[in-house]
């Protein structure tokens, strides 16, 4: 989508601080990954019982954690865009709804929100079903994964709205004016001129949100989703070895976050542009 350009001047030459070159950061990261992956491999090979057994046991959970995070994040990006556009909307009602959403959601802990979606939300739907005599609603049972995605998207969408808002507002007003003066509609100007520039600005915080979401997805283990954390707890419940289980679970999360951070960094470098 975006083309990469080489900088005209040698930036490294101009801002040379010994030991702080991009190259060395890269190496540190590779060392970290090698270290974490190495520890996992060494532990599984030298002590297959319990480490390899743990990995085999939590593998489904690992898949669910990745699935939850990626699917939720796609929706978070969409909800965040809508919320961000709502927050800068001049339409008072849209603006009010977006502001209420952001402020309410940001004021409640994610864990409480997830519990609310899992335990309270289905009861509300059932009650509505009873009042309206719609049996499909009255017999509604929460699907744990669905509810977990809704809860994560609802919460992270609010934070993402603020990131989008800040990103859109960081694009100089003249860009929108120039686009409008060429006859583009508000949404054409947003889509073709403002958002492409805003997205590049917000990439670092968006990347952070992805990594936060990956970690916070462990909270869904309290609402009956068999994610990595919950599978770890299940293993511990039968084998009574907390040190081994939670060290391995922590290492697996670490591999995921380190890789995500690198992917984010790679995208950032590829989409860099100058004003």
């Amino acid at each position: 989508m975006f083309t990469r350009r080489e900088p005209k001047i040698d930036e490294q030459e101009l801002t040379h601080i010994p030991g702080a070159e991009p190259q060395s950061r890269m190496d540190v990261w590779w060392w970290l990954v090698a270290l974490v992956v190495g520890v996992i491999i060494i532990l599984s090979v030298t002590m297959p019982d319990p480490y390899w057994n743990i990995i085999k046991f939590v593998r489904d959970g690992l898949k669910i954690t990745i699935f939850l995070t990626v699917v939720s994040f796609v929706f978070v990006l969409l909800v965040g865009m809508l919320g961000g556009l709502g927050r800068i909307s001049k339409n008072r009602i849209i603006n009010l709804i977006a502001t209420l959403y952001v402020e309410l959601v940001r004021g409640v802990p994610l864990l409480v929100q997830l519990i609310w979606w899992y335990y309270a939300f289905p009861v509300i739907i059932q009650q509505i079903g009873k009042w309206t005599h719609i049996s499909a609603l009255a017999e509604y049972q929460a699907n744990a994964i669905f509810v977990a995605i809704v809860g994560l998207v609802f919460c992270y969408g609010a934070y993402m709205s603020e990131i989008y808002r800040a990103g859109i507002q960081s694009v100089p007003k003249g860009q929108m004016e120039a686009a409008r003066s060429l006859g583009m509609s508000y949404f054409q100007a947003m889509r073709h001129v403002v958002l492409p520039q805003a997205i590049r600005v917000i990439l670092p915080p968006v990347g952070n949100e992805f990594i936060s979401l990956l970690k916070d997805s462990s909270l869904v283990s309290v609402v009956a989703v068999a994610d990595l954390t919950r599978r770890g707890r299940e293993f511990m419940a039968t084998h009574f070895n907390p040190i081994e289980v939670w060290t391995m679970v922590a290492l697996l999360y670490l591999v995921l976050t380190l890789f995500s951070a690198r992917i984010v960094n790679w995208i950032e470098r590829r989409t860099k542009f100058e004003r």
Binding site: P172, A178, A179, S181, L182, G183, H192, Q197, R200, F273
Partner: protein
């Protein structure tokens, strides 16, 4: 002569600030009109009201026979009005070529090939066809402003508005932009120019309008306004500007 822009008793308020106080003005087809005046006199606001970047609080603006009042016809009218800004406002994430092509494609619905040909011809016209594939940040201010003019012209506007097009430029780059504007004026483009470039006004303008405190204080052909202004305020202003 038929008038292409008809402004009737326009007022504009920004909160408590009364930026335009009853401006009426007719601009003829093919006319080059230069608006001068001290900062805060409402020149830019008037210009921005013409293509509805600002909504006027009261009064009428009729462009090309269409009254600017609903969202539908605003976009239609804006296609006929090119605007050049003080700060260029080139799309920073796009190459020069894509800057010129974008609106042609999504507003004028031109095919990519056709839009690119039009763009390249316009870049030749403003003298920088070799910069088609660079990004705006790689251009000088004067080059950016010439691209901005080309971008506006790519929509085949019937009117061009210039909002202090040379105020953000280094002195040596002003001429290259003014030359493009002069060429455009010679072709018979209707132009409304907010600028303090008196040399340009003298060479191209049929009329100069002097604005102060949201009103048109005086209007006259350039040689008459420069040599024998009627108002004290105009005299004072011109004595400062012409000194340069």
């Amino acid at each position: 002569m038929e008038s292409i822009i008809n402004i009737e008793n326009v007022h504009k308020h920004f909160g408590r600030v009364h930026a335009l106080r009853g401006v009426s003005l007719q601009i003829q087809k093919g006319e080059v009109l230069v608006i001068v005046g001290p900062s805060g006199s409402g020149k830019s606001t008037l210009l921005r009201c013409i293509n509805h970047l600002e909504d006027c609080s009261s009064g009428n603006i009729i462009v090309d026979g269409i009254q600017l009042d609903s969202a539908q016809n605003i976009n239609a009218v804006r296609q006929e009005i090119g605007m050049v800004f003080q700060s260029f406002n080139l799309f920073a994430h796009l190459t020069v070529m894509d800057n010129l092509v974008l609106a042609q494609k999504i507003v004028r619905k031109r095919k990519k090939q056709e839009a690119r040909e039009i763009a390249l011809n316009l870049l030749k016209k403003v003298g920088i066809p070799e910069k088609a594939n660079v990004h705006p940040y790689q251009l000088s201010g004067g080059q950016q402003q010439r691209v901005a003019i080309a971008r506006a012209l790519a929509m085949n506007p019937r009117i061009m508005l210039f909002d202090e097009p040379t105020s953000a430029l280094d002195p040596e780059m002003i001429k290259e932009v003014l030359d493009v504007m002069l060429a455009l004026a010679k072709e018979g483009m209707t132009m409304v120019v907010v600028s303090h470039e008196m040399g340009f006004a003298r060479a191209a303008a049929k009329r100069i309008i002097f604005m102060d405190e949201g009103q048109i204080l005086e209007e006259a052909p350039p040689d008459i306004l420069f040599t024998s202004p009627k108002h004290e305020r105009t005299k004072l202003f011109l004595s400062k500007v012409l000194q340069q």
